[in-house]
Symmetry: C2
Subunit: 166 residues, 2 copies
């Protein structure tokens, strides 16, 4: 009876875990990392052109430690998250400043992207797995095929675009 | 003897604490909050004009909880930090994108600013204390006189410019 209860408890726990993780992104099989919005800040950026967003790059504890110690390549277990929002002129701020100068984060845009370091699992893509989620759902395979070729030229920085902002 | 050792230990501990805190900013007496660079992200922005920076707004646990629950006014204990960096065109990113579009955080710029909520202590400035540190040192009194008048019009948002970016 105790064994049965334990087995049932394990099944329930595993089911909850797999439900939490949600569907995996194609090619690299990455699920949305839980709690990533609470991760610490690596840096910020503004992309013009078709992206036209304001973005923040966050890192899990392994990522932050490696960045602060200037450790390259990033160790296995590193996860880097790229959040982005619409690039919006802030009328309420500009009113205070007395001129148009303030651009702030509007609604989320361009999905949330992740780089996951696992040098064995992702050996064929420089040790990194890539994923993009739009409204919590993985983007399609065509999009995921573009990640590695775009990051590949950044060999000197272990394929990572973003530098740490002190 | 034990009492003497305890007293000495207390003095050493208090001395270390006051050394950690560093010099207080004028008017509001705020010292640099320890560990603020590890706080969670509220939002990001770009200011043009003379500021010309990329900025991130971080919050301590009280701030993040209040933001996520949409709680106004912010409760006592809230601390909001504004970090900023030079607005720099990224040649290395632009090379990958094939066009000039990427603006990233350069060296720190415009100091680090804090809003500290203490409705009793700072009753005469809407419940907020303000502070700016340049390279870890408090800015002068003239600068600190400009904080409250600039934030005061934002009564609808409890004097806080920045909205939470989900």
């Amino acid at each position: 009876m105790t064994t049965l209860i334990k087995t049932l408890a394990t099944i329930v726990a595993l089911t909850a875990l797999s439900q939490d993780a949600g569907p995996a992104a194609p090619i690299y099989g990455i699920t949305l990392p839980p709690g990533y919005r609470d991760w610490r800040l690596i840096s910020v950026a503004h992309e013009e052109g078709t992206l036209n967003d304001l973005r923040a790059v966050l890192g899990n504890d392994v990522a932050i430690k490696a960045y602060r110690e200037g450790k390259l390549p990033f160790p296995d277990g590193t996860i880097i998250a790229r959040l982005a929002w619409s690039y919006v002129a802030s009328e309420e701020n500009d009113k205070i400043f007395g001129r148009a100068q303030s651009f702030v984060a509007g609604p989320p845009k361009n999905g949330v992207q992740f780089m996951v370091k696992d040098s064995k699992k992702y050996a064929s893509s420089g040790g990194w797995g890539f994923a993009q989620f739009n409204d919590g759902k993985p983007a399609d395979e065509a999009l995921h095929k573009t990640c590695f070729p775009c990051h590949a030229p950044f060999k000197a920085n272990d394929l990572v675009f973003t530098h740490y902002a002190p």
